[in-house]
C-alpha cells in the first residue's frame, strides 16, 4: 500500500492537491479500479457524515453511468469548443472575503453566516462533545508540527484571511423562539419548513442558456 499515493488521493478528493500532482493522479485514478473504489468510499463517508438520509449508499449508479458511456462516442480534442484555460491557481490561495460574502448575500441561505476570522476561537469553542456539555470545551491547541514534510504549510496571518462559513444555529434559535408566538397553523408550517430546510448551493439558479441548450 502506497501511503503517499493514498494521502494524495485524499487531498485530491478535497480539492487540496497542487495542480501538477492532480494531473498525474487523475491519470492513475481513471485507470486504477482499486483507487477508484477507494475514492468512491471516500464519497460514501462524506454522505454518511452529512446524514444524507433516503439516499442509497450502495447504489449501482456509477456502474450504470459507466456502462452507458461505453456506448457513447469518446470526446475528442477536436470537439472541445475551447480548451480549459490553465488558471495556474495555487491551491493555498484564499478566496477573497468580499466574493464569499457577496455570494452569501445573493442567495438567502438559512445556514450560512460569514464570520470574521477573529471569531475562529469561538468556532473552536463551539465544538463541544457531549461529555463536556456542561461548559464549552475548547479543542486543545496541539503543538505546532513544524518542519518535517515538505508540504507542511502555515497560513500566514493577513488581513485578507477569508471569512469562515459556519452553520448558523442562531437563526434556528430565532425560528424556534418565534414559533411559540405564531398562530397554531403558522407555527406548524414554520416548524415544518425548518425541519425540512436545505441549504442551497451558491449559484443554484436557472442554468445559463448555453448549458441549457447543451443539456437539452
Amino acid at each position: 500500500m502506497n501511503e503517499e499515493l493514498d494521502s494524495q488521493l485524499s487531498a485530491m478528493f478535497d480539492d487540496q492537491l497542487p495542480p501538477s500532482e492532480c494531473e498525474l493522479l487523475a491519470r492513475r485514478l481513471s485507470r486504477d479500479e482499486q483507487l477508484k473504489a477507494r475514492w468512491g468510499r471516500y464519497a460514501v463517508m462524506g454522505a454518511v457524515i452529512r446524514a444524507e438520509r433516503g439516499v442509497r449508499l450502495n447504489a449501482p449508479l456509477a456502474g450504470r453511468v459507466s456502462a452507458v458511456l461505453l456506448a457513447e462516442p469518446a470526446l475528442g480534442a477536436q470537439s472541445v469548443a475551447g480548451a480549459l484555460p490553465r488558471r495556474g491557481l495555487r491551491w493555498w490561495q484564499p478566496v477573497a472575503a468580499g466574493a464569499l460574502a457577496a455570494g452569501v448575500a445573493a442567495v438567502s441561505i438559512l445556514w450560512l453566516r460569514a464570520e470574521a476570522p477573529s471569531s475562529v476561537a469561538s468556532l473552536s469553542a463551539r465544538l463541544t462533545t457531549p461529555a463536556a456539555a456542561s461548559g464549552a470545551s475548547v479543542i486543545p491547541a496541539s503543538a505546532r508540527e513544524r518542519g518535517g514534510r515538505a508540504d507542511s504549510y502555515v497560513v500566514p496571518p493577513s488581513p485578507a484571511v477569508p471569512a469562515i462559513v459556519v452553520p448558523s444555529t442562531e437563526l434556528a434559535n430565532y425560528v424556534v423562539a418565534h414559533s411559540m408566538f405564531s398562530s397554531p397553523v403558522a407555527r406548524r408550517n414554520l416548524l415544518s419548513a425548518f425541519m425540512t430546510s436545505e441549504p442551497a448551493a451558491a449559484g443554484a439558479e436557472e442554468p445559463p442558456d448555453d448549458v441549457k441548450s447543451a443539456a437539452q
Binding site: S10, R41, G76, L84, A215
Partner: protein, 202 residues
Amino acid sequence: MSADVSDLSLVRRVQRGDKGAFDALVLKYQHKLVKLVMRYVRNPAEAEDIAQEAFIKAYRALPQFRGDSAFYTWLYRIAINTAKNAVVSRDRSPIEYNIDRHDNDESYDMQGRMKDSETPEGLVLTDEIRTTVNAAIDALPEDLRTAIVLRELEGLSYEEIAAAMDCPVGTVRSRIFRAREAIDHRLREVFEGGLGRAEELG
C-alpha cells in the same frame, strides 16, 4: 472563484477522451446529486434514474464546459433542470385549486409505493454502511474526527480547518487522510467482504 483543481483535471481528461476519469466524477458527486434530485421527486429509485440521466447529459455537454463556474455548480444546474423536466412531464406540479361552491369529491389518487422504493435488502445494506461509518467515526481520536467532520460536514478548506484547529495545513491533510484510512478499514469489509455483497447487481 473555482478552486476545484481536482475536478478540472478530471474534466480535462474526459474532454480528451478518457471516460474512466468521468467515473471518478460520478463516484464523487452521486450522493449529492441524488439528494438534490430528491427535493423534486420523493421516490429514491426515480431520483437515482434522474441523477443518472443528469450525469449522462453532463458528459455530453462537457465539450461546452469552459470552467467559468465550478464543475459541480455546472453539474448541479443540469441536475435541477433534469429533475424539473421530469417532474413537469409527469404532471406533478403542485395543485392550484379553484374553489367553487359545489360539493366536490376530491379523490387523491395515490400512485406508487407506500414506502421508499428501497428493497428491504438495499435498505439493510445502506443502514449497515451508515452504521459502520458512524461507529468508525466515533472510535476516531478527537483530532482526526474533528478534522474530517469540519471537512465533510462544514465544507471548510484545509487552511480554514488549520485555523480552526490551530495547526499547520499539512497536519490537517494528514489527519483527514488518517481518519479516512481508519474508516475505510471497516468500510472496505462491507463493500468487498464476502462475495462483494455491497455491490448491487443492476
